[in-house]
Structure formats: C-alpha cells, structure tokens
Symmetry: D3
Subunit: 236 residues, 6 copies
C-alpha cells in the first residue's frame, strides 16, 4: 500500500482501480528538548499508513519531508523551505498524480503553521481549478485538537505531540518533566518568531503518556477515514 515499494506494474494495477492516494507531508523542525526533529513526519506517516490499512483502495505516497517554518526557524535543527517552494511542491504533486490517473488525493500535513498550511492550500487550489481533480487537505494537528486532551494551553511539542510520539516511536522521546507556560498572543509580525516560544514547546508534557497518544492517534485515523468517506462520497 506504500507506493514507493510498488513496481511500475503494481502501481498500474492499483491506478486502474481508481485509488485514493494520501501524501504525508512532514517537516524537520525543533520540537523542544525532548522530541525528534522528524516529529511532524512521524505522525502523518503513521496516520496515513493506518488509514491505508483500514480503508480499501487507499495508497500512501512517499512523504514530503520538509516544510515552511516561522516561529521555530532559528531554533537548532529546523530546516525550512520557502512559501513558494511549498506551494510548487503541492501543485506539482497533485498535477502529477492526476496525470497518473489519480483524481482523489489527500494531503496530510504534520506541521500546521499558518504559512505552511496556506502555501499547500494555494498550490492545491490552483491544481484543482486547472484540472477538476479532487483534493482533501488537512492536518492531523488540527484533528488532534478536536480530541480535547491536555488542556487549552497545550501547543507545539506539548502533551499531545509527546503522547503521540510516545505511542509510535518511544525510543526517540527524551525525558523531561518541566511543563512550559503559555505566551501572550500579539498581532505584531515578528522578525524572530522564537520569542513566542521561549522554551521551544508549550504545555503540560509531564502528563504525556503512550496510552493517551495511542488513543489520540486512533481518533485521528478514524476521523480522517470518516472525512475521506464523506468528502469523496464513498459508499459506506
């Protein structure tokens, strides 16, 4: 079900069955002192793989491993690509899938910074307008917020993300116990966004557990399956 491990002829056979293709879009971004830089890649790759396992006729494309970052761009380990680069990648991939006969594409972004989200959105809109192909775009981050765990002040690399990585790749999670307070929002456009996130993470990470993470991950997987079924009007 992972496209990268298929041969040309495997892919051809799948494409002939009019599949749904999920493109996981990750990031290489500082996630506090305790989570791996690939946190935003690990999460959507896991979710996409699970959705593909549970939903018929659904393939996973190779992940995009880089994103646009703003507030964390100067923290160690964050590698950022520009708005226009993100937009072009999104456009090119949707068009290329469509030329390959795939007209139902899901882009699943692990990183949900507003610039990154709108860059992908703009690229997808252009492709949809030009071809009529069908695209769902969402971030598992936004869906995890609906789950309602860890309190309102949870944020980047906080209790939710720590729990989720504990459930998927516990070997990559460092041990910390100091919760990080929240910061006040302003309307200033910041030259150095890192001042918003003095500790590099936000939330009560001391409450993070693998069980909670597994539960959130499962919620996300099932929610996305529901969204795909609804928005692509699949027969139940």
């Amino acid at each position: 079900m992972y496209i990268g491990e298929m041969t040309r002829d495997d892919f051809k056979a799948s494409a002939d069955r009019d599949p749904i293709v999920i493109v996981p879009w990750g990031a290489c971004e500082a996630h506090g002192p305790h989570l791996p830089l690939d946190t935003d890649t690990i999460q959507p790759v896991y979710v996409a793989t699970e959705v593909s396992r549970r939903l018929q006729n659904t393939l996973v494309a190779p992940p995009v491993n880089y994103a646009l970052h703003s507030s964390t761009r100067d923290m160690p380990g964050t590698l950022t690509i520009s708005f226009d680069t993100v937009r072009s990648i999104a456009y090119d991939l949707v068009i290329s899938l469509w030329r390959q006969g795939v007209d139902r594409t899901v882009i699943l972004a692990g990183h949900a910074g507003s610039g990154h989200i709108s860059a992908i959105l703009e690229g997808c809109k252009k492709a949809v307008r030009e071809t009529g192909t069908q695209v769902i775009f969402l971030s598992d981050w936004h869906i995890s917020e609906d789950y309602g765990a860890c309190g309102d002040d949870d944020g980047h690399a906080g209790c939710v993300e720590t729990s989720r990585i504990l459930a998927i790749r516990p070997d990559l999670v460092g041990s910390i116990d100091r919760d990080a307070g929240h910061f006040e929002h302003t309307y200033r456009i910041l030259r150095d966004g890192s001042t918003c996130l003095p500790d590099g993470y936000q939330g009560r990470i001391s409450e993070a557990t693998a069980d909670l993470g597994a539960s959130i991950n499962d919620y996300i997987v099932e929610t996305i399956i529901g969204i795909i079924q609804h928005d692509f009007e699949l027969a139940a």
Copy 2:
C-alpha cells in the same frame, strides 16, 4: 547520525562540532517491471547512511523524495516535480543548513536525469554564490558507472541498479529475465521521452546479483568518502 531522529539539543551539539551534512535526494519513478518506484531513494539513503557510519562527524538529513523526470514521466508510478521546484528545494535546503551553522553540505542524488541534475546544480550555485557555503553535489549513479560493471549498454533500471537494490532491499525486486536492448540516441527534443526506453529499462538484468550490488554499493561509499575528504580538504 540521522538528523530526523535527533532532538533540537542533539542537533545543537552536533552543529557545534562543525559537521558535514548529506542530503539524500530520491525520486518516485518507474524502474521497469521489476524494481520499486523508490529505487532512486533507496540507493542514496543507503549510501548516505553508510558514509555517515564510516566518516566521522557526518550527518544524514531527511531525504527529498521527489525529482524531475522526463523520459519516464508518463510511465505508471512516476511522480514528477518541475525544474523550478527542484531548483528551489536545493537552494532553500542549502541556505537553511547554512543558517543552522552547517557550511559543508553534500547533496547526493539518486536520480541522474539531465534536467534534474542541472536544476539541483543551479539551486546550489545560487546558494553558494550568495553565502560562500561549501557544497558537494554528485549522483551515486554517475559513480556507479565508473565501477565498470554490466557493460556499456547498461542503463536505467538495468543490471547495476537491479544488483544494488538486490543488495539493499531484495524483498522489493521482482523476478524478470528478459534483457532489454539499447536505443539509438538522437538530438530531437522529444515530447514523449518514453519512446527512448520502450521496455522501461535497459541492460542485461539477467546478470544482476546481490553480490555484485553489494560490491558496487561499497565502491560508491568509499569513493564518496574519498571525494568528501578531498574536496572539503579533510585531514587524513
């Protein structure tokens, strides 16, 4: 040694030691009826990881998983991004690494189509000119040609590539025994490049073996280590 599994603080500690960073650049491309679409990702990721294991102070960045394709673009499974997208990614990553304190970057491309190679090259040149950062750019494909196995008419998805994947991921190699003949080169710019490669691969793949692949892979790893030591003027 894989950046994506490091935390922010791991990366900081590494960056303070002035590391070399290798970015493996893969592709999702039809490789005949027998090789996986990720062939050009699997190869440079393997090579980069081995180089990093054998050469001190060398890190591997998350791979870029998509490339620009021309002759195979209409074959099932090939997903292509445009020249300008490739060029922007290369530029953005070199600049982003440089801003993170990395001024010795190696880009290692699995796919060696001429458009793809020149797109990466142009992006790197711009970054080098603007910053003075040091960049080595090469393709393991070109180095594998120097090894001299499989005859002059070996090519895309041929005996060399089949051997190399047999050595790394034998579970992904299909069984075929029909060799594919070569095609005549012309100076025409083709609208549909696939006519150059009627079978989708080229060479005597019946001669491919895992042992040969392991030997080629090892040759590539050692050659690249030598190139890095020479071009970055490392003390022996």
Copy 3:
C-alpha cells in the same frame, strides 16, 4: 489625518513625529442581496479613521480597494485579484512606508478570507524580515467575532456585518428579512466555492440593527487602539 489629503510638506511634518500609519484594505465583493459590494472597504476605512481620531499621531493611508476572493469569486459583483498580487501590494506598501520613514504600520483588512489573509501576511513578513520595520496586521472581522453578538452561526454578510453597515452607511443597506442557514464544512478543496454559501450570506440578519452595529464598531475601534498601544509598546 488622512494621508491622501495632506500635501508633501504636511506629510513631511507628520513623518518627522514618527507616526503610526494605518492602511485600510478593502474589497469589492458580493455581500448577499442586501449589502453593498464595498462592505469590506467601508468597515475598515471607518475603523481606521476612528482610531486615527482617537489615538495621537496616527495617520490613515489611502485604502487598497481590492482583495483575493475564493468562495464568492463567481458571485455577481466580486472583483478579485490574485494571491501573488495581494502579497506584492502588501510588501510594496510596507517597504514604501518604511522608506518614507514610517516604521510602525498597521494593515487593517476588511475581508478575512483565508487566502487573502495569508497573502497579506506573507508580504508583510518578507518586508519585516528585510527591514526590521514594525507591522501589525489584523482584520476587523476577526475582532468583531470576539464581540460575541448574533450567535455562532453568523457569517459572511450576516447579522454582524449588516449591523455595522447600518451604523455607518444605512443608505446602502437593502431590506431583507430571510435568515440564511449555515452550511456544513468539509475538507474538500472546492473548484467552485460558492456552493458553501448558497444564499450568498449567512446568519440571522433579521436581528441586525444600527445600534448593535455602532456598538460593535466602537468595540473594534477600542480593541484596535489597545492592540496598537500594547504591540507597539506605546506609553499609556
């Protein structure tokens, strides 16, 4: 206090006092059967003018009268400019003001579509990064939501906007009494966004009154004054 009515020498004298400049950013967009196409221009121009009247040393620049539209783009009367055009205008104006000695700019957008907002944001970010000038960017729409009138299902051209225009330009408001229901959100990227807004407006507009509008407008003006004082760290 309106820049367009100043002479060169008036402006020079103001600029020497290190002023704050507000750029109202409007739109020409279908706002249901009852509101004028300039609704999103009338609102921020009114707000900017009031802020300038109440807050010392604050000027209003000529409004930008066009925006990027998505869901209403095919409704009669909507005139849209592209994402890149919006982004360029934002960048150019912030840079031009900065070259004129203005390093505290407020962009106040009447239209708050997500594409439009992110286009302005991206243009401002680029200018801020290059120059260090200070920029506040907000939409009076988002602040009107904080006021909490008209219920959760109020939306485009609904009770809030109708009330606000009734308070500013009652002569331009048509009479309607049919409330418009809400629509279900999906993650599909729509080729024709107007299906989201079948009536072209959303909310209980029968409850709109000029008094409510005046109250919301005043709330917005005072809130923005507070934001400017806080984010630009003005002495109280």
Copy 4:
C-alpha cells in the same frame, strides 16, 4: 453608477445590460508643496464619475489608489508599488471584470509616469490577448495636455493640475505663488529622479484658477466620452 455602492443584485442587473466599466487608477504622490498627495486619484475619480453620469450604461469601479513612481519616489508622501505589482493588478482586474461578464473596460490613470503607463499597458495586453475582451487605456493627464493651457513648460503639479484640483477640491490646495522653472532633459537613467524636479513641481502655478480647471476637466470628460464612443463603436 459607482459599483462599490451597488449590491450583488444591482450589479447583476447592470451586467446583464452589457455595461462599460471605468476603473479610475490613482496614486499617492508628492505634488509640490501645494497639492494633496491624492491629486492623481481625485482627478480620474472625478472624470470617471462625470463620464458615467453623462454616458448611458457606464459604471465606475472602485479606484486603485497606488501607482509606480520614479522621479518623485523619494519625495515625502509618495508611496510606490512596483512595476510587476501594477502590471498584475491591471491584468487581474481586466480578467476579473471579464469573468463577471464585462467585456468593455476603460482604465483611466491619473498618474502618467512612463513606467506606470507601460506596466498597466502590459497587464492589459496580456488580458486582451488571452480573452479577447475590449480595453481602452488612457490617462487624463495626456488628454489635458491636448487642451493646450498653461504653456509648454507646464508639468507635474503645475498650472494645469493645480487648476483642476482648484475646481474639484479647492479646500485641499495650498497657497503658493512661486512658479517653478523647467529642467533639461537627458537620456541618462537616473538613480535618484528627483533631481529632475528640484521644486517638486513645474510650471506657472500663479496662473492656475478654478475656472480654468473646470474648463479643462470638462474638456477631458467630453473627450473621453468621444473616445469611448469611437473606440467601442457605440451607436451615436
């Protein structure tokens, strides 16, 4: 007749009658010590409104309030947008009007700097070539030159412009009586164009009167009506 004050349904009714739409294009530009920065907005808005009043089935769109400036760019109060931004706005608006069913657009520019004029022209040409829509582009400045008042050495913010603003917005005109001499033209491309215009205006402004301005304005309105009738081949 002003589009911004129409509702969606008003516009729809007008568009069904195949209207002509005039887009006034203004500027925020230093106009000597005596004229308002909005001089080049006030003039085409006035003219467009008058044409619309006298010529059947003619609408006025919201003005574009910013232009590209060269020689005055460093004078206090001039706010400039770039060549490519102007070109994009022109293209986007002509296309957007055409998508709304308007295929006879008039762009009326108050500012007539050569860069600004050619930027609008290039944007319009692209839109015309792609769609076949009909566009008239002119500047009231050029037509005012045909009127033949104020002598050959009249120029920027000179006797003609001062007279015209005296006729429209006398409250915004400062009192000065020193005429400004002319400067010698060269073929050098100037880094700082303001050296061409040492006083920031050019001409015998002591001869400016509201009566002359009213007469010039009327001449422009009638001339433009004639041009529209001729170039769009309206029945007399």
Copy 5:
C-alpha cells in the same frame, strides 16, 4: 573597437582605460515588402560603429538581435521575444558590463515600439538602482524623428528608414513606389495590432534616397556623440 573581435587581454587593456560601451539592440521584424528583416539591427550597429570610430575610448558590444514586437508580430518574418525576456537581457548585460569594470553603458535600440522601449528601460533602471552604474538609453529612431525629414506621416519602414538602409546596405532594399497612407490612432488595446499598419509600412517611400539616408545617419551619429558627451559629462 568591436568587443567581439578583441581578445581577453585586449578587452582588459581597454577596460583599464574606463571606456564607454555601446550595446546595439536590433530586431528581426517585418519592414514592409521592401526592407530587410534586420533593418532595426543594421541601423544601430552602423550608428554604434560610427560613434565608436569618432569618439575616443568607446567600444561596441555584440548586438542583441531580437526585440519585443506588438503591431507587426503576426507579419511574416517578425520574431519576437517577450517583455520579461527583453527586460532580463537589459538587466543582465548592464550588470555584467559593470562587473567587468564598465560603468558607462549606452544601449542603442533600433526598434522603438513602446513595449520594447519600456522593457529595456525597466531592466536598466533596476541595474542602475542596484549598482549606481551609469546608463544612457536611447533609440536612433527617436533621434531620426528630430531630423525632420519625410513629413509628419512618416512611420514604420517609411521614407526615413528606407533612406537610411539605402545609405548603409542598398543591396538589401527592394524597389517599390507606392506610398502607404496613415491610419487613425485609437486608445483600444488591440489583440491584433497589424490592423494599424495595413500595408506593413507608412510614409512616402517614393521620396527615399541614399543621400537623404546618409545625411540622417550622420545627424544621428553626431547627435548621439553630443548626448554621450553631455550626459556622461565628458571633457570637450
């Protein structure tokens, strides 16, 4: 004095004397039934060469042989490049000359269509702003108009141009005797500009003579020498 025939070391020696460099900019454009497509190349190359012969320390760069065309673009033989291409060439050449130590460049355009002229101008302005290099930009066409021969209705491929080519390359001039009338100017932006020029040329070409052409050419050469001396402030 022609750069293309110099060696590297010849150029170095010249560049050390702080030379003026003239770049002739030609075109491949239909010029009626009687003049060669290279008409707009032949003229500025001749003029530049003559200026270089008469004015000390002045070099001629290889000509640019293509231009942007509008009204003649669909006539047989016209080869056009786009606005942005022209602008980029102008920018690149001025910058490249400046990097070579040449800070007084003259661009001499044979073709004087308004789009072409403004494209070169915009490219030069950008280069001048970024570097401070000195650039004179003019068209020999505009100077030939000042000479005052052949009447007011002379135009493209008319009596002036025919005379000039008769003086330089009489072997390339076909024989025709039918004068072509003028056409009425409009403000419409034309999709097919060739309707403006039904015969493909304009003027009383029956009056063209080699003597007149020689005289015009000489006038242009001397005028340009005067302009260069004045605008670059050369000692007499």
Copy 6:
C-alpha cells in the same frame, strides 16, 4: 538564406515551403589570450551558414550573441546573461518561429557550458511540450569532440577551437605557443570557477593549424546535416 537579409515577402515565400531554421547561439566570452571574445559566435554562425548552403530549404536566423557563463565569468571580456534569461530566449524564439509557420527548428550553440546547455534545453522542452513543434538542439563543441583531434586534454580555447578560428577568421587569432596543462576535476560547486582554468585555456595550442580547423569544421557541418536528415526524417 540568412533570414535577416530577407524581406517580409521573401520570408513568406520561404515559410510556405516548410523550411528548417537554424538559430546560431553564440557568446561573448574570454577565450584565452589568443582568441577573440566572439569565438563561440563565429563558430556556429559559420557552421549554420555552411549547413544552409549545402542542405536544401534551410534558413539561418539572426544569432543570439550572449550566453550563460560560469567558470570564465570573471575573466576580462566575458559578458554573461542568467540561466532564466537564456531559458526564456530559447522558449520565446522556438514559439515565435512556430507561430510563423516554422515547425522544424535547430538551435546550434557555440558555447557548451553545462548551465547554458541545460537552460536552452529547458526552454526548448517547454516550447515542444506546449506546441508539438520539432526542435533539434546541439552544440558544435560536442560534435568537435567526436572528431578526435588534439588529444584528450584539449579544452576551452584549446587546439580544436584555435584551429577552427584559424580556418574561419585567422586575422583574429593572436600568436601564442605555450600549451596549458589540465586541472583536476572536483565535485565542489565553486564560487569562483576561474580557478579551474588558471591560464584561461586548456590544451596543446601549439599544434593548432588552419588546415586542421577546416577539416574539423567540415566534419561538423556534414555531421549536423546527417543529424538533421535523420532526426527530422528527411527523404535522402
């Protein structure tokens, strides 16, 4: 047979016979102490003219006289245009010729730097994909390598190029007798490429003769005729 010397009607008559058009693409580039800067223009112009003389129905377009340079860009006399400019020129010319009815275009590049070659290639590919026009792209440099003269270490401005210019324009060749050694290739992307070419040329130029040059030129002409016949499938 040279388009620039044809009139509109000559061109029309030729175009009606479905001609092949060769565009020679030159350069202004330092070629050691002994060869003219136009070396890479003189060669393809000569070759194109000869091909046109020997092959029926083949025209030569005006040459493009500038190219993209990398390793020689800082040597005296090299004038470079950017990658994107080269790409745009190639695209524009192929499209413009195609609009003129020419659907078999040959681009013949004298300069064969890898960036320049790929820029032309990318421009041609885009034009071919959009229109289906037929394009052959080659460099006479590459073909001269097949001839096999002057040894393996011959290179830029070496024995082959010196011989070729001795055969075409002996008056422009300076006298030198010191051969220049070769340099070691690396994978580093160089900020200043001139370190690769310390003498500015490479090879045993003491062995260059006009006879050898004539022979190489003839080989190139005949080889290109063969390529055109083969790739455009001309009847023998």
